[in-house]
């Protein structure tokens, strides 16, 4: 399978601070790739750099054959790469439906919006019930659904999810991951950053492990689950 996204030796600096030192990874078309690592390993920075909301200081980010490293975020999402960011970053003053419609801003063909809305409401029926509610008044689980739904509204080729299970009740996490599996079945490519190893490896085809800003391990998800190194790196045990 050709790689839809290929990152080589990505480095991100915040002033003197190094957010990500050396990350390389590949996301084949149609796959689910997990980005694992403990808190502060650089997962969020990696996803933010790919999406263009933090600047890339070194390395290349090639999406669908073209180098997008250093391009502004508003240009990257138009190429078909959407991010459901850490902390959701919803437009809390606006309604659920307005948030979804804002997600559709990059679409060149506005006539597709009703169908896309319907699709998001089919994946997350809770959002349909609350479409006129202000996003700021929703529960954590609903906000996560809205963040994912909003990213889907741009009809991305690649959906990046930053910690979609963070702070959510187990039952909601299960529903969330069921939705991801359904979206994957429809052919969506997913890059998933997740702290919860078991969840991520169950959903993913392939996984990368980050440690202090570097990709230190990679492999097919099934093998990674049995790899003692993963647990060791993760829990910081030596």
């Amino acid at each position: 399978m050709p790689a839809l996204l290929k990152i080589e030796h990505l480095e991100v600096k915040y002033g003197d601070l190094i957010g990500v030192a050396d990350v390389s990874l590949e996301v084949p078309k149609g796959s689910v790739v997990a980005l694992l690592g403990s808190n502060g390993a650089g997962k969020t920075t990696t996803l933010n750099a790919i999406a263009g909301i933090v600047p890339v200081s070194k390395g290349s980010v090639v999406f669908d054959g073209s180098n997008i490293g250093g391009q502004p975020a508003y240009a990257i999402v138009r190429k078909g790469l959407a991010l459901s960011p850490e902390g959701w970053r919803l437009f809390t003053q606006q309604s659920v439906e307005n948030n979804l419609l804002l997600g559709a801003t990059p679409l060149p063909d506005r006539t597709r919006i009703p169908r896309l809305l319907e699709r998001v409401y089919a994946v997350f029926p809770r959002l349909a019930e609350r479409r006129h509610q202000r996003a700021g008044t929703m529960s954590g689980g609903e906000r996560q659904m809205l963040a994912v739904g909003r990213a889907l509204m741009s009809e991305p080729q690649l959906l990046m999810l930053d910690e979609p299970s963070l702070g959510l009740a187990p039952a909601i996490v299960d529903t969330m991951y069921d939705s991801f599996a359904a979206l994957h079945k429809e052919g969506l490519t997913i890059l998933l950053a997740e702290q919860s190893v078991d969840l991520a490896l169950e959903a993913a085809d392939h996984a990368y492990v980050l440690q202090v800003g570097r990709t230190v391990l990679e492999g097919p998800a099934k093998q990674m689950a049995d790899n003692p190194d993963v647990q060791r790196i993760y829990l910081g045990m030596e």
Binding site: A51, G52, I53, P72, A73, Y74, V77, R78, A82, L83, P85, R89, L90, F91, T92, Q93, Q94, N98, L101, L102, G103, T105, P106, R150, A151, S154
Partner: protein, 287 residues
Amino acid sequence: MSLTLVQVIVSGLLLGAVYALFSSGLTLIWGMMNVVNFAHGEFVMLGMYSAVMVWTALGLGPFAAAPIAAMAIATLGVASYFLLVRHIMRGPMLAQILGTFGLALFLRYAAFWYFGANFKTLPDTLVGGSFSLLGIRFEGARVLAGVMGLAITLLLHVVLTRTAIGSRMLAVSEDATAAQLMGIRPQRMQALAWAMAGASTGIAGALIANFFYTSPTVGETLAIIAFVTVSFGGFGSVLGALVAGLIIGVVESLSAFYIGPVYKDVVVYVLFVLVLWFRPQGLMGKT
């Protein structure tokens, strides 16, 4: 209710709608990007001079002057954004204050240089003089300004809250980075806000010029009213500015009638202080 009282309240409402119109641009800019435009009064002043120029050069009244002023001040707003505000926004709050205050001084003294210090007035026959309706006297210029003020302020509010472009503008104001993830270019939306604020401010100036003297320093007087209206209504809320403008207009008018014109400002400012005492965010401001 006596007819005189009705007369007083109607004049107050008309005046208040004009306050709302020339304050809405200030509140819009604050709401969009947390920038206080200290040159706002000068924008109104230049809108007034646009009307004076349209009258002296073309002999035309507000129906020609308002659109011309709207375009002129919208252009000025967009230019101020790209040449000045965009850059000082990256600096501390003090840079914004001094930056837009510097712009105010520049525009004010440019007006002195170009137009001279003399007060200019437009003939009051330009908007049909005054007329009587149901026993109440109306001045054409004030009716036009009041009605247009109400209409345009409401239009601004509707654009912001009911349209896709307004939703994008609000998205940028809440979280510009997240807005970028939606494919929105924050600078375009901010420039658009300056254009909209400039247009409404220009129209306000062109309408006020029909019943108020025009001079290079008139912006100072008007800016104070705009700041009071905006903080009364809640910084960032166009609807708040409308409600606050109407309240201030009526209170001014009533206190001028009952207590005396000299004291009307005292009453307004006491009310203003009380509102901020109990509701520091203003009537409709966010906390």
